[in-house]
Symmetry: C2
Subunit: 248 residues, 2 copies
């Protein structure tokens, strides 16, 4: 491997941070790294909001139902954003209708997520740690109001960053042949044996952890997860459409 | 900066490659780097298909309407995948209905896109280059048939990789204050002046390029882009729903 890939392979989610905020200089570096990810058609259909107001951080921690968010060293909210592009097109006298398509929503979301991964990697290269927050999507409507998002802008994920104050173990990923295929999706008949082996790996991982011994197998974890969807998440597409996106 | 961030800031899309396929060892390394990106709830709701069959590569180049895809050194298709999770839950006797929600589709897409950016960064750290292919979404139905995707699996993006045979210039990104905000989305009144400055930057970039002098300003480029949506893209959500995803 090399130092970049080594860094990637060391990734773990950090949710407990020292009481030290990121400097403006570091935040700006991270944004720059994010901006240099690929962007569809060079359109840069996303934006980033840094949440520095402690009240807003707390409100977002409540939306995400994760108290640690309020204690992060820095909190980014990544947005799919076609509002800026629509303004440009309107000024040129063009129709902005296309920006309400599912296609343009998904382009914005993809841009934002690619940038997010660059931000995480850049942060980890600076000795920081963090966690991607899908939980901000529990209430897309409330979060959109809190951040004063105009039409054609929706939240996609959050990134909580800081100086790590915990050292969690690496979570073992699936064996490659359960997730990486060649030329077509495989028939299902023979994944059971491989999954059983992975179940054992996950059991070992959980039993070696000092705390939070949550699940015995991967199968149990996934089954539990399938039963625990936040009701607000089932309003996500509707709430995105209220922001005038993903409508057709 | 540091060597990781320096690498990120040097990213440019590479679409022309030397006639040398990636070794299996390198492909495996890249998949491993991708797998170590964050994954929502540890569920790993995505899969990766490597396209090595020249006929399938050509078919995908036709779907994407980009001939260079057929000549890539390696082609990955990233998939949002809840099929594996649904199989596990079904085996445990649980209901799999939730996997057809928009929420679970978006979780799978996010997992796949985070992994994709890790793959690109890992590839670039090894001296490879590549380009993210949103264009595979022109015909989600055809691509799903070509790759024999079962229900609860949809393509999200492609990654074309190889040994670079071109040295494009860096595309200048927007100034930070057009894309990065604090605590709330800004009012629109004063972005015109900043956008005009960025228009000039883009004009300089295009006029300095040896080939493909396409647009004079960022505003013209975005306006042109708003007029050129592939008709198949407007069927994307419907095609995803045909795969039993994003239905509620």
């Amino acid at each position: 491997m090399n130092s970049v890939i080594d860094l990637q392979l060391q990734h773990r989610s950090i949710r407990k941070f020292k009481k030290e905020a990121l400097s403006e200089e570091i935040v700006s570096k991270l944004v720059k790294a994010g901006q240099h990810a690929a962007t569809s058609n060079y359109a840069q259909s996303y934006s980033i909001i840094s949440i520095t107001d402690p009240k807003k951080k707390k409100a977002i921690a409540e939306i995400g139902q994760q108290a640690h968010i309020a204690e992060s060293g820095h909190l980014f909210i990544m947005l799919a954003d076609q509002s800026r592009n629509a303004s440009i097109v309107a000024k040129q006298g063009g129709s902005t209708n296309i920006f309400s398509s599912f296609d343009k929503f998904f382009i914005g979301a993809t841009d934002a997520i690619l940038a997010a991964q660059n931000i995480i990697i850049a942060a980890e290269s600076l000795g920081l740690g963090g966690v991607i927050l899908g939980c901000i999507l529990n209430q897309v409507d409330e979060l959109s109001t809190l951040l004063k998002l105009p039409p054609l802008v929706v939240p996609v994920l959050g990134i909580s960053l800081g100086y790590p104050d915990q050292e969690p173990q690496l979570k073992p990923r699936m064996p490659e042949d359960l997730i990486h295929f060649e030329n077509s999706y495989p028939q299902k008949d023979n994944i059971s044996a491989q999954l059983e082996e992975y179940d054992n790996t996950v059991t070992e991982y959980y039993s070696a952890r000092d705390s939070n011994k949550r699940f015995e197998t991967f199968a149990q974890m996934v089954t539990d997860w399938s039963l625990q969807t936040n009701p607000g998440r089932l309003k996500m597409l509707g709430n995105i459409q209220k922001q005038d996106m993903a409508k057709f």
